[in-house]
Amino acid sequence: MSEFILKLSNISKSFGGVKVLENVSFDVEKGSRHALIGPNGAGKTTLFNVISGIHDPEKGTVYFKGKDLRGVPSRKRIHKGLSRSFQNIRLMPHLSVLENVMLGQHSRIDFVDMFKPLDFLSKSSGKGEAIETLKSFGIDLHKGQTVSSLPYGIRKKIEVVRALMAKPSLLLLDEPAAGLNTAETKKLRDFLKEVSRRGITLLLVDHDMPFVNSLCNQVSVMNFGQLIYDGPISELKNDRKVLEAYLGSENNLEGSNA
């Protein structure tokens, strides 16, 4: 298997003279569950922002499904099958659970359907699909509540579902397990495995190593804006450079997360 859905080649990016990303290159295999780890400030979120088009890289190219994404505005990347969640939950605070999830469908909706009232013509507008999806992942609609009043764990999950509603082929998840307790993390893992079984490639950033170990099969490690490891997760423990980078940092490769 060597079909790559995402190819990063020599990505560099700096803010105000500080190099945040330096010649980062790695590939994400189609159908894989790929983790991107590294200490805080290693440039992981910046790399996500470059992939999703929020930042333009100074150097280097992002290839998605074999095509150069340069010049494709961030808004249009979701149409190509690239969807993401955020490190700090960025759900729309004044929308309900259902509305947030339906916003995820926006890129797939025909122009004419945009003008149909959602409350009366629910079938054609994707409302039914949104309700079904939420149900299948065991998320309550929480009718009569905006998302800002819901618990953290539920919002975290809704954000993943919202990203899924675009029917992406690659899903970028920025710290999906952060702030969840052990039981919730386990549930999220099973949930993401289910997502993966549906044929969606996952690229995720997380600090929770047991979670990453039990979910992902590929891993890339970054430190100070550079890639220091890229390969199967099983061989990560034996890599000298990775061990050095993590020595003395709060992130422990074996034990629980910081």
């Binding site: 999703s52 088009g53 929020i54 961030s74 808004r75 249009k76 990347r77 979701i78 149409h79 993401r84 955020f86 960025r90 729309m92 605070p93 004044h94 929308l95 309900s96 509305e99 339906m102 916003l103 995820g104 926006h106 890129s107 909706i109 359907d113 945009m114 003008f115 149909k116 009232p117 959602l118 409350d119 507008s125 009718k143 009569g144 509540q145 905006t146 009043s149 919202r162 675009a166």
Partner: protein, 282 residues
């Protein structure tokens, strides 16, 4: 209908329409502090078309809306490059420029104002108001409305969800401008006299406050806000000065206690579910 009541209802109708024009923009998270300017454009368009060309009422009203919308569309592109406080200042400046042009133009009557040759009854105002309210509810109930609210809550994320933020904002600003023009046309036809001094900064401020106090989260906000601030002072029969003083106190209090406005989604859903459960019990 008594003369007094019909007068109050006409003002209510015009204010409600005007409030929706500002609401459509505010729902996408942009404050238009130049409402009076767009209303003035509609009012003067209506007056000129009635007086000079003798067009029938419905045509003059349609042209008021079209002209308000067209001018909004043209200035939307430069104005929507600005954000936040700059957008407030830019729209404020536009209203001042419009008023300045009217004051300097002999054709538009300058500072002495203009008499309008046509006249409409309160009923016309109310019918148009009902149509505009329906339009507001309709837009907010579609995916366009959903996208507008998303842009209001978080522009960057809405963009990543594939929402064309610029198209949404330009359309909202244009629709807003045309509704403001329409309200101006109705004002001109109902009162039969217009002058530049009426369309001043205070009018822009008041209508924006109606909308923000009513609440920008749902289409009920402008309806309630405009009705509340038009009808309550009439009901209390207090003098103009006290009316605006109390208005100011209410605004300050609201911003502390309930800054999201009178009508919020949460509150509305609670009311709906209560009504709904009562029905099912019966």
């Amino acid at each position: 209908m008594s003369g007094y009541l019909s007068g109050v209802l006409a003002i209510l109708g015009i204010n409600v329409i005007f409030a929706y024009s500002i609401y459509i923009t505010a729902a996408t998270g942009q404050l238009n502090l130049g409402g009076a300017g767009f209303q003035a454009i509609g009012a003067y368009a209506c007056a000129i078309l009635s007086n000079e060309l003798g067009l029938p009422i419905y045509l003059t009203l349609i042209f008021s809306a079209i002209l308000g919308g067209a001018i909004s569309f043209l200035i939307a592109f430069p104005v929507l490059r600005t954000k936040g406080v700059y957008m407030v200042l830019a729209t404020f400046a536009i209203a001042e420029i419009v008023a300045g042009i009217i004051l300097n133009s002999d054709f538009l009557g300058g500072p002495t104002g203009m008499i309008v040759n046509n006249y409409i009854e309160t009923e016309v105002v109310l019918v148009v108001a009902i149509i505009v309210v329906f339009l507001g509810f309709y837009i907010m109930s579609t995916r366009i409305g959903l996208a507008m609210r998303a842009v209001h809550d978080d522009e960057a994320v809405a963009d990543l969800m594939g929402v064309n933020k610029r198209a949404i904002q330009v359309s909202a600003f244009t629709i807003g401008g045309s509704i403001a023009g329409l309200s101006g046309g109705l004002y001109a036809l109902y009162f039969g006299f217009i002058e530049a001094q009426y369309f001043n900064a205070n009018i822009s401020i008041f209508v924006l406050l109606y909308v923000l106090i009513g609440g920008t989260q749902t289409a009920w906000g402008p309806l309630l806000g405009a009705s509340f601030f038009t009808l309550i002072p009439e009901a209390l029969r207090i003098g103009d000065d006290w009316r605006f003083f109390i208005f100011g106190v209410i605004i300050v209090a609201m911003m502390i206690l309930r800054p999201e406005g009178i009508v919020t989604r949460d509150a509305l859903d609670r009311v709906w579910s209560k009504l709904f459960s009562r029905k099912s019990n019966v």
